[in-house]
């Protein structure tokens, strides 16, 4: 092992000293709740009778794994994440490529695109509920003017699912655009010049240069967006409350109800821990991809 000089040791100590307040704060607001929730997940802890005297072992986990409603929520969440991230990625990439080529007015486009992202998700939900009101909303009114029957945006199971997906895309697509555009503008110009000299078509340039070089950025963008999509809660809470039926009952909203309606904190914590493991797995992949980008 390399010899550590006194100066290095002092530097390191100083570094720790500077980061200590931040670390303490993080431990208090992030680590402590996670550890506490982890411990709670092994107890039959209800807010009606709070206490750690009824040890459940893995009971809450077994119960969650056996709960049809919970598994259904997990399945719906998976469909939601695939739909939202997939569509947002394609749409976001197309817009990012177009913006990357734009010579004028880039800032204006940017500003317009960023507007939805700046709106609070609760406001987004309320706004769209009004816009999509089947009898009094503007969308069905406009459709009516060209002879289209009113659409049951949130009242039919399949339609409600896709309505929520579309609203989420409207709200979040600019996040994809911004990240992908940052990646595109950082690409070196030389390979493109060489390809142009060799007579490559725009599609060939995209397929053989842009896509491979963008790969690390794409992976990171997809993963970040996936993690956010798994946590979707606000839009569901405002727009559908998981309905109609159980068509939009996403997992975060399900866990929220188990904790704050059923007041069954033990079970809710077990479900949240299971979700955390999935998200942590995705984060590990994200971390590795980010390291690849750095290397």
């Amino acid at each position: 092992m390399a010899h550590v000089t006194t100066m290095e040791r002092e530097n390191r100590r100083f570094g720790w000293l500077l980061t200590a307040p931040g670390l303490v704060l993080l431990a208090a607001v992030v680590l402590f709740p996670i550890v506490w929730a982890g411990i709670t997940s092994f107890f039959n802890y209800s807010l009606i009778f709070p206490g750690y005297d009824d040890f459940a072992g893995l009971g809450n986990y077994a119960k969650a794994a056996d709960d049809g409603e919970f598994l259904h929520s997990a399945w719906i969440t998976l469909l939601f994440v695939v739909a939202v991230v997939g569509i947002q990625f394609v749409a976001g990439f197309v817009v990012a490529l177009m913006l990357n080529d734009a010579r004028r007015g880039k800032t204006v486009y940017y500003l317009i695109l960023l507007c939805p992202l700046l709106i609070n998700p609760v406001v987004v939900g309320l706004m769209w509920r009004m816009i999509l009101h089947p009898t009094l909303g503007i969308v069905n009114w406009l459709l009516g003017t060209v002879g289209i029957e009113p659409v049951n945006w949130l009242g039919a199971p399949d339609m409600a699912f896709w309505t929520v997906v579309l609203v989420d895309i409207w709200h979040q697509v600019s996040f994809m655009v911004v990240l992908l555009l940052a990646g595109l503008s950082a690409l070196p110009a030389e390979p493109y010049e060489a390809a142009r000299v060799d007579g490559a078509t725009p599609f060939q340039r995209f397929w053989h240069i842009t896509l491979p070089m963008m790969k690390p950025v794409i992976v990171v963008t997809l993963l970040i967006r996936m993690i956010f999509a798994i946590k979707t809660y606000d839009i569901i809470y405002i727009m559908t409350r998981g309905g109609p039926g159980v068509a939009t009952d996403l997992i975060s909203y399900f866990i929220y109800r188990r904790a704050f309606v059923s007041l069954d904190l033990g079970e809710a914590c077990a479900m949240a821990a299971m979700l955390l493991i999935v998200i942590a797995g995705l984060t590990a992949v994200l971390w590795r991809s980010m390291r690849q980008v750095q290397d």
Partner: protein
């Protein structure tokens, strides 16, 4: 200079006193009855020197905001308002202070309350934990102008051979719903959003159809043939005689459809009656009335009872000041003033007050509605049951389960909860 210093000091002292003036914090729902209290608050603050801070939020947020405050030893709410279906839970968890000693010490008269109100949001197992705040028993809002229309009367007589009038029975009402679904108008608008809007609304259908939620031994009975028929009526009304999308409507969206004159009827909370005549948001001023939900016979009613109560939580930082506020807000004068502003009464003296009746002639109908209404089963796990019932009803409405399957599933979960609560053997 000395004078200047002295006056500065006394100003400082006054500010300090003002800063220490007591504040009563209450979490409340954004409903008309809350706004009436907000209008009257200056009277209380002037009389007692106690400030009142009302934190007004949407219903869906209330339970989530209340629970953490109630669990802790010292919360931030001095007083709380309790929805009837939280009562069992709050009682079991021991979150409310008994009020009997305070009531006795101050000679506060609770005998003036409608007995059903005291049962629902007053006493639990013989101890008074709450004072009834306002009732939201559900009723049938209907369009009087459509009933009085001569062309409608003739067409109805031709179609059904009976006179078109205020419905006396559930079947007559369903017939009218069908009749008024024509020319782009709807016979009914429903609030099909899960969990509580649909669960509360369907309860009226259950009672109207002659069904009950439970038997004497707390076993679920709402999956009986009456219950299934009630759900089938609900599904038909929503899908065939109501506007597109009613399965996702909360009460405000459903009311908007009614108040814009697009539906003949809407079964909803009685406080919406006043909003029908509010020209700022209603296109049918003077054309709507409320009645109890009709039952199987003209003598029976199908309305669901509902109410909020005032309570002082165990975690209240200043229970004495909170009681001062409760005493004031539920005093005969203020209760009457609230009713004159449009509030939903819980006290018999207010219901029978000549001035209130003169201003709101529907007061008598509202009293009858309340007296004839049915209670929802209230126990420790009522909020979970509402969640389950809402989910299953919504599944039936969206066609993913049959009425029988949905109610059987909800009944099985109800029985589990009742066993967990020690209600069933």
């Amino acid at each position: 200079m000395k004078k200047y210093m002295l006056s500065s000091l006394s100003a400082l002292a006054l500010t300090a006193v003002a800063a220490h003036a007591e504040t009563v914090n209450i979490l409340m729902e954004a409903v008309p009855d809350t706004t009436y209290i907000q209008q009257l608050l200056p009277e209380f603050e002037e009389a007692t020197g106690i400030d009142v801070n009302l934190e007004v939020v949407n219903y869906a947020e209330m339970h989530t905001k209340l629970v953490p405050q109630l669990v802790s030893n010292s919360g931030s709410y001095s007083a709380i308002v309790v929805d009837f279906y939280w009562v069992g839970e709050f009682f079991k968890a021991g979150w409310m202070q008994p009020l009997d000693d305070r009531i006795a010490a101050d000679g506060f008269d609770t005998s003036v309350y409608v007995p059903a109100m005291m049962d629902l949001v007053g006493q639990v197992e013989g101890t008074t934990y709450m004072l009834p705040f306002y009732n939201y028993a559900m009723g049938l809002l209907y369009r009087t102008d459509l009933l009085e229309d001569e062309a409608n009367k003739t067409a109805y007589m031709d179609a059904f051979g009976t006179e078109l009038k205020k419905p006396e029975t559930w079947d007559e009402y369903l017939q009218q719903v069908k009749f008024f679904t024509k020319d782009g108008s709807y016979g009914v608008v429903n609030q099909g959003l899960r969990p509580d809007p649909i669960a509360m609304e369907w309860s009226n259908y259950l009672f109207a159809k002659g069904g009950e939620f439970i038997d004497d031994g707390w076993h679920a009975t709402f999956n009986s043939p009456e219950g299934v028929a009630a759900l089938e009526d609900y599904i038909t009304n929503l899908n065939d005689y109501g506007p597109v999308g009613a399965a996702s409507f909360s009460f405000d969206e459903a009311f908007n459809v009614f108040s814009q004159g697009q539906a003949y009827s809407y079964i909803t909370y009685n406080f919406f009656r006043a909003a029908v005549d509010d020209a700022s948001g209603s296109a049918i001023v003077g054309k709507g009335e409320i009645m109890g939900v009709p039952g199987q016979t003209p003598e029976e009613g199908g309305s669901l009872n509902g109410a909020w109560g005032w309570a002082i939580p165990k975690s209240s930082p200043n229970p004495d000041a909170a009681w001062e506020f409760l005493k004031w807000v539920e005093s005969p004068e203020i209760a009457k003033k609230r009713a004159l502003l449009g509030g939903s009464a819980t006290r018999l003296d207010v219901f029978d007050d000549a001035e209130v009746i003169a201003k709101y002639p529907q007061t008598t109908a509202l009293k009858e509605l309340l007296l004839g209404s049915h209670n929802f089963p209230t126990f420790t796990y009522t909020p979970q049951f509402v969640e389950v019932l809402g989910r299953e009803l919504s599944l039936a409405v969206s066609g993913e389960k049959s009425a029988q399957e949905a109610l059987d599933a909800a009944a099985a979960e109800f029985d589990e909860l009742a066993i967990k609560d020690g209600r069933q053997e």
